[in-house]
């Protein structure tokens, strides 16, 4: 029964390396090594980010639920991100700005750097500087960082529905998003053809 490796032993590192190779390969194949393709999501000419993102989340969520149901994985042992109201929201805002200005996120910038995008290498340097700035000024907002702690709370526990129903709603939401983004993209590319 999974998870099979829960320590920080060498096996976890080797497995992570292999998973990382898959991660990089998939992102690059999907075109996520191009900042212009990534940012397309904000201007409506390319929604692949949304597609890959939601498809991956939905697939993994359904997969985890089935694995748990079949008793293959101990769902109580997997890591659930903790929620800190203010800190999480502020982080999201900063990341949104970083995304639209820099054109990458940390994961995709690695892939872009690997195929020789110089802007991605600079972006990575920027992320490191950003982390450094955060760490140096940490005492200023140490309280804020840990305030509003809600623990490792899941969406179904928060609204009080069953996990299966929550996943079902998420899947329906994702499919609807796929449909509408495809329609928007079609319209916008038709428009730009006219010019």
């Amino acid at each position: 029964m999974g998870p099979l490796f829960t320590g920080t032993d060498e096996w976890t590192l080797v497995i992570s390396l292999v998973i990382g190779i898959g991660f990089g390969y998939i992102l690059e194949s999907a075109g996520f090594s191009s900042s212009r393709k990534l940012v397309g999501v904000f201007y409506g000419y390319d929604f692949s980010v949304i597609r890959v993102f939601f498809m991956a989340a939905v697939t993994a969520a359904i997969g985890l639920a089935y694995f748990g149901y079949l008793g293959w994985i101990d769902l109580s042992a997997i890591y659930i991100n903790k929620f800190y109201l203010g800190s999480t929201i502020l982080g999201g805002i900063f990341m949104g700005l970083g995304f639209i200005i820099g054109g990458f996120c940390p994961g995709t910038s690695v892939c872009a750097a690997s195929i020789g995008k110089i802007d991605a290498i600079i972006f990575i340097g920027g992320v490191m500087i950003g982390s450094l700035i955060f760490s140096l000024a940490y005492p200023l907002y140490a309280n804020f960082y840990t305030s509003g702690a809600k623990g490792a709370v899941t969406i179904y526990d928060m609204i009080g529905i069953s996990k299966e129903l929550a996943i079902f709603i998420f899947v329906v939401f994702a499919v609807i998003t796929f449909y509408f983004t495809a329609e928007i993209q079609k319209k916008i590319s038709e428009k730009s053809h006219k010019y």
Partner: protein, 221 residues
């Protein structure tokens, strides 16, 4: 044109497959996950002592108003009414296996929790240990014991002793924390009754375990 049509068909198929899988999940009969814990594993956990938390940890969580921690008082209702920790709920030990009309364990929703951390306490260690053992045997998760119970609480939080070794920074910090905690708890009109109905002299080795391995902050992404 045919090409586009077949692509469209494929997307519709994909959507149906996704929703179908999710729907199947929804209608699958609930699996009885209440498998009992193997004795070997239970023994390992008992020896491991990872299920103990300190009174300082509990005080810190109460002061910080952590919704993620639930205190469960397993003493009798009269004792609970007399004195209890702020925010604690009362599930007396002898009622812990009560069943509802439908045959389910009444307290299961509380005691078998995926997201919250339950901390049992009684006057000493024995009863909370028994409660913990019973819930573990049922394979319930996220249950802990406040080590030393209310006796230890009184000793450490309500009546902290100045450390002998003043030079030790850690001890001093702990003492200062306890003093502050005392102010926090005694500020109100709480009255502490100390009928030591339970004498636990042979205390287990004081293992302080603050980090719940499961939720260790990895620094994310």
């Amino acid at each position: 044109m045919d090409n586009i049509k077949s692509i469209k068909k494929r997307y519709i198929l994909m959507s149906i497959l996704l929703i179908g899988l999710a729907l199947l999940l929804l209608i699958l009969p609930e699996r009885d996950s209440s498998k009992e814990l193997e004795p070997e594993k239970l023994l390992f956990e008992i020896i491991d002592k990872n299920h103990f938390v300190t009174t300082d940890y509990v005080a810190d969580r109460i002061i910080n108003n952590d919704n993620y921690v639930i205190l469960i008082d397993i003493r009798q209702p009269e004792e609970f009414a007399n004195f209890s920790l702020p925010g604690a709920i009362n599930i007396p030990l002898n009622n812990i296996l009560d069943k509802t009309e439908s045959g389910e364990y009444k307290w299961k929703d509380y005691l078998n929790n995926d997201t919250k951390k339950n901390i049992f306490y009684s006057n000493g260690n024995t009863y909370s240990n028994q409660a913990w053992m019973i819930t573990r045997r049922l394979n319930y998760k996220n249950n802990y014991i406040m080590e030393g119970g209310l006796n230890k609480w009184k000793e450490t939080i309500l009546d902290p002793q100045r450390p002998k070794n003043e030079a030790d920074n850690n001890e001093l910090t702990l003492y200062n924390f306890r003093k502050a905690a005392k102010l926090f708890f005694v500020g109100g009109d709480t009255k502490y009754s100390s009928d030591d109905s339970e004498t636990v002299k042979n205390k287990p080795a004081p293992i302080i375990n603050k980090n719940n391995k499961k939720n260790e902050d990895e620094g994310g992404c």
